[in-house]
């Protein structure tokens, strides 16, 4: 319960600053495609799914979202014509519309480019390797 050491405070500050810098990835994608970060998450999950369709509960699992969040968001995406939902026995099936598929196709290269610009390019290759290793320690079981 003591205050952070200077070194730890600097580490935290650096983390916060870097997080804000990397938030630019989502901003770039949004500007170029009109899709929010959650939009992209949903579109990518659906496109990678077998048959490009998923039960809503499976989508909740793969995104890690709560059911209510997913319900709200899919409703909005459906209103914008990106997905459609049909009742099936024991749940709801979500599918990409043609517009949704097109939006996903547009988003992918923009996203890749933004990641390269904001995360990959600023770091020498040695740092990138080290960073992966370190980041994984932050999410390791005994975190």
């Amino acid at each position: 319960m003591e205050p952070l050491t200077d070194a730890d405070a600097e580490l935290w500050a650096a983390w916060v600053a870097a997080s804000e810098a990397l938030a630019q990835v989502s901003t770039d994608v949004a500007e170029a495609t009109g899709l929010s970060e959650p939009d992209v998450t949903v579109l990518m999950c659906l496109q990678q799914a077998d048959g490009a369709r998923l039960r809503q509960s499976d989508l909740a699992t793969t995104t890690g979202w709560h059911r209510s969040r997913l319900s709200h968001h899919l409703k909005r995406m459906a209103e914008r014509g990106l997905v459609n939902r049909t009742e099936v026995p024991g749940g709801v099936e979500v599918r990409l519309t043609t517009m949704g598929r097109a939006a996903a196709a547009r988003a992918r290269p923009v996203h890749a480019d933004a990641v390269r610009r904001h995360l990959v390019a600023p770091l020498p290759s040695r740092d990138r390797e080290r960073l992966v290793t370190i980041l994984r320690r932050l999410t390791a079981p005994g975190s």
Copy 2:
């Protein structure tokens, strides 16, 4: 405009996962104190300010927030009794209430503890040094 290499995709995935893990810092603080992350930001800025009071525009500068966001948030914080606002020539002055000061005092050790638990403790000291260096490259001028 080509897709990410496997290594770059892994780096991005590791970053996203770690970000979600470190979001737990705010969650911990919120659970323990009832304060959101923006609440804490405001409280800390005010407490460190000379005389524990700031012009609203100065607060906008130090937090990096838009004026409208700050206005909305201060209104809510004022309703909860954490700050009060008084008009002064050429602007509005924000001050901590007694409750606000107490909340800030409660939040500080909780925050420090959360940072230690989620960011500092999982990493050996060598990694912490490297991480600071790498993160700073992500926010360097030519980012």
